[in-house]
Amino acid sequence: MAFRKDLLLISSWIKPNTKVLDLGCGNGELLKILKQDKNISGYGIDNDIKNIKLSLRNNVNVLQMDLDKGLNGFELESFDYVVLAQSLQVIKNPKELLNQMLRIGKEIIISFPNMGHWSSRIQLLTCGVMPVTGNLPYAWHDTPNIHLCTIKDFLKFCKDNNFEILEHSITDNNQKTNLLTKMIPNLFGKIATFRIK
């Protein structure tokens, strides 16, 4: 199975020999590669039994839990990093979850698809329909994505909540930066990744 490119960036931000909690861990590939390459320890959390099985097959510790029910079982600063990769948009109460992540993690890493990308804007502007893109392939009535945002929205959200942004990366679909994603990230960035404390 090919490694998800957006996870490469996240793994490059994580220091060796640390403790990582990966929320919405999918098949556990991020933790698997971090274990192999950086000797990290940690756990994945997912609520889909299919992903629990896949993570177990990847020899990753995985806990079947519903993120919308909170992270009360975890102690203050018990992890070096808490990661939420491409799942922010499915969370019922993002603010509450981010606060919890910041409680249990020394730093948190979040990535999400940017709704401000020109392809989404064009669909709404020219066709007058809710955008359906490669990253967000669902029709409006049948989508798990209930809290989509743009990079600008997210920056305001961090400012309003006093979240300190340590590092960020705005990339195109191939996880590359280019002149356009640097100049006008909210229009040309597909995936946004933030490291926050």
């Binding site: 320890s41 039994i49 629990i52 099985k53 177990l56 020899n59 510790n61 806990l63 079947q64 018990s78």
Partner: protein, 375 residues
């Protein structure tokens, strides 16, 4: 016989001569453990699995006994190409000390008095069981367990192994278990014991000397227990309000199907189970509280443990519901152990751990396969 059955199996007796000092302070100078094994121990002795049984279980976990139609109690889980795959693993299961299926227990003869123990048989705790299981392990020449696996009270033994002998266990699977009993759990156990002790044939537990047994009390205890093993959903689905007869009779005979089912379960149970063993097993459940009992040394033991843990619960289990399993997960997380947790959607209640369920079996298979790599 199903296609992937182990086939016919024969139990064996291990006579342990090492005196066992029990948590109660009493000592068993010698004792027998009846056990079965499936598959074969590999050359470097690295594929042994211990299965721990629950309240009413025994050593006959899989395969068939000659002349019997029903296979062992976990036959769907254990066998060639099953989740606990006997083509690769060497599976050991025993009747716990204090049991009534061939291991030394209340129905055995006390060598000091030459009479049956009856209620004089000491109360055995989960920790005592684990100590005796370790004796069996040495007897069989097994250096460590690749897996210790159990459901319910069996899951508690699996956990106890990881606290008591962390260096002897590589993987621990505790299914539908709890870190200790709640007041409600203990209350149900106490009613079961009262039912037995109020039976006119109880004779303070020394009924065998009188040639009788407290069958009515034991049947009642089993009926009560059985309700707690099923879920509301599964009882509705299986029995609803169906009547045995076509109309209401306006008397107190068995009328509803559920009444008839419970009566049958109770009556069936007493033919193969000893009341003193039931008393002892429920007490052992009540006493289990390793976290409270954990001295600093046991906590250190757990932290030394390199064991991987898999904790499984079932959504409709109200005897040991998912939140109890999550308490175990929390303990392991706080001690930075390698733990995975799965909550299986199932209607079967507490007994779901004994039933075939695609997701449940897949989770078991995935964990065992990956942990077993390298054999």
């Amino acid at each position: 016989m199903d296609e992937n059955s182990i086939g016919y199996v024969i139990p064996t007796i291990a006579s342990i001569k090492n005196p066992l000092k029990l948590l109660s302070g009493r000592v068993l100078s010698q004792y027998d453990l009846r056990y079965e094994t499936y598959g074969s121990l590999n050359k470097d002795k690295s594929n042994a699995v211990l299965i721990c049984h629950a309240l009413s279980g025994n050593h006959h976990v899989a395969g068939y006994h000659e002349g019997e139609e029903k296979p062992g109690w976990w036959n769907n889980m254990i066998g060639p190409s099953k989740p606990i795959d006997t083509n690769k693993l060497f599976v050991v299961c025993l009747n716990n000390l204090g049991g009534c299926h061939g291991s030394t227990g209340p129905t055995s003869i006390n060598p000091e008095t030459n009479k049956t123990y009856g209620s004089d048989f000491p109360i055995i705790t989960v920790s005592d069981w684990v100590t005796s299981q370790k004796e069996l392990m040495s007897y069989l020449g097994i250096p460590f367990w690749k897996f210790v696996i159990g459901g319910s009270l069996g899951g508690m033994q699996a956990l106890q192994w990881s606290f008591q002998y962390p260096e002897l266990i590589n993987n621990c699977i505790a299914i539908a278990a709890a870190p200790k009993l709640t007041a409600q759990n203990i209350a149900f156990n106490e009613i079961a014991r009262q039912a037995i002790m109020k039976d006119p044939n109880w004779h303070n537990g020394n009924y065998l000397e009188k040639g009788v047994s407290p069958d009515q009390g034991l049947a009642l205890a089993r009926m009560l227990g059985h309700i707690t093993y099923l879920s509301d959903e599964s009882m509705r689905e299986k029995f609803g309000r169906d009547l045995k007869t076509s109309k209401l009779n306006f008397n107190y005979d068995v009328e509803f199907q559920i009444e008839s089912y419970l009566k049958y379960q109770g009556e069936k149970f007493v033919t193969g189970f000893d009341a003193n063993t039931y008393m002892l097993m429920t007490k052992s459940l009540d006493y289990f509280d390793p976290i409270k009992d954990m001295s600093q040394s046991l906590i250190k033991n757990l932290q030394k443990s390199k064991s991987k843990f898999l904790i499984i619960s079932f959504t409709s289990d109200w005897r040991f519901p998912p939140k109890r399993s999550k308490e175990i997960v929390k303990l392991l997380l706080d001690n930075e152990r390698n733990v995975s947790y799965s909550e299986i959607s199932a209607d079967g209640g507490h007994d779901a751990f004994l039933m075939g369920n695609h997701d449940y079996f897949d989770i078991m298979r995935s964990f065992i396969l990956e942990s077993n790599n390298g054999i």
